[in-house]
């Protein structure tokens, strides 16, 4: 079973994402901001990170940059999942090493299709 770290400061979003991803047979962990996510990854690197952008303490992009510099931090597939939906944000995310990008609002179909694009399903 692949592990997925769901990073979002909204409890509701984490819950929705968890439900969808559990149905797709992922083992879910949650983090509430970028720093929390980074601590999580250093302790136990997940296979996938589903990543919000705007969060307190450390945002998603800063987390991603830090993750990619961490030992083993190249491995996780990182999928942004954010309300930031303009080309500038998308480009910044992809240049920083994101593998896919979901613009909120999302549903099961979008998650499934994006995850299969990057070979997770």
């Amino acid at each position: 079973m692949k592990s997925c770290l769901v990073v979002d400061d909204s409890k509701v979003i984490r819950k929705v994402a968890r439900r969808i991803l559990e149905e797709l047979s992922f083992d879910i962990k949650e983090a509430v901001d970028g720093q929390d996510a980074l601590d999580n990854c250093i302790a136990d690197m997940p296979d996938v990170v589903l990543l919000d952008w705007n969060m307190p303490i450390m945002n998603g992009l800063d987390f991603l940059k830090a993750l990619r510099r961490t030992d083993g931090g190249d491995n996780p597939v990182v999928v942004f999942c954010t309300t930031e939906n303009d080309m500038a944000h998308i480009s910044a995310a992809i240049s920083a090493g994101a593998d896919e990008y979901i613009m909120k609002p999302f549903d099961r179909e979008i998650i499934e299709s994006k995850f299969s694009q990057v070979g997770l399903l």
Binding site: I90, S91, I94, E100, E109, S113, K114, S116, Q117
Partner: protein, 282 residues
């Protein structure tokens, strides 16, 4: 709705588009035709049906036929056909058509354009390998309305996320307000024209590849046979056909044959054995 009214409308749909509407879909008729009645200043669907009975106006019949089509489509729908097209069909055609440097592709139920544009993106990815080639991507559909949308190439955020990798969005789309518009370059690669699969196929010849996906599913078996046999005549003797995930040629026609191990892909029968073995080794 009275049974005779249902029969009238479903008869019109069947002869004009091939659509088979079963009586339990009466709610669909009501929900899609009532807005047409309203837009014409008629009070009820009954009034619209009377109007049809009285005048049988061509424009109105077309309008209700279009309104009853299912137009759902997404980019790279089901992935597999597009992977097969990219990894098997195109490389084979690049070898086979090296003399003419021409490839003809037809999307026979193109709807709002996602299918032909997905093909165009794949063709574009081939880059130098297709430099100087003439690649025709032709999208046709019964419904003018969907083709208008296809030509404009504006898609919602939801539409561009279903099935399409973000890298394609970055490469080939520009943001227009809340929507995303396909690039002029890709638009220039695809032609669109209205065409009814039940009519004659004048001007359709020598296609190397035909995508006829998620449309036969609405037809009766003998209509599927007729359409597929006409499609076959519009193709090269060694052509490739893609059908939708819930469609097949089996029990419908022997003019095409499934390609073993390649879901949704069919070869014209004359040469299918030779070709599928060359695709397997190649």
């Amino acid at each position: 709705m009275r049974p005779e009214d249902f029969d009238l409308i479903s008869g019109i749909l069947k002869t004009r588009s091939g659509l088979i509407l079963s009586p339990e879909k009466v709610y669909l008729l009501e929900s899609r035709l009532t807005p047409i009645a309203r837009a014409k200043g008629l009070e009820t669907l009954d009034d619209l049906i009377n109007e049809i009975r009285l005048h049988r106006k061509e424009a109105l019949l077309s309008e209700i036929t279009e309104a009853m089509t299912t137009n759902e489509s997404f980019f790279f729908r089901d992935n597999t056909p597009f992977d097969l097209f990219k990894d098997k069909v195109l490389p084979e055609l690049i070898k086979r058509n090296a003399q003419t440097k021409k490839i003809k592709i037809w999307c026979a139920a193109a709807s709002t354009g996602q299918e032909p544009y997905s093909i165009a993106m794949i063709v574009k990815e081939m880059g130098a390998k297709l430099e100087g080639w003439d690649i025709e991507i032709f999208g046709t559909d019964l419904s003018n309305k969907v083709l208008e949308k296809a030509k404009v190439g504006l898609y919602s955020q939801f539409e561009v996320q279903r099935g399409m990798p973000i890298k394609y969005l970055m490469k080939h789309f520009a943001q227009v307000g809340e929507m995303w518009q396909i690039s002029e370059e890709l638009k220039g690669m695809v032609k669109f024209k209205p065409m009814n699969l039940l009519d004659n196929y004048m001007g359709f010849h020598n296609y190397d590849v035909v995508f006829c996906r998620n449309v036969l599913i609405y037809f009766e078996p003998d209509m599927k046979t007729k359409v597929l046999e006409k499609v076959r005549k519009a193709m090269k003797p060694d052509g490739t056909l893609f059908l939708g995930a819930a469609e097949t040629v089996l029990g419908i026609t022997d003019k095409f044959k499934p390609v073993t191990g390649s879901r949704g892909m069919y070869h014209t029968t004359d040469v299918s054995d030779a070709l599928s073995s060359s695709l397997r080794t190649g």
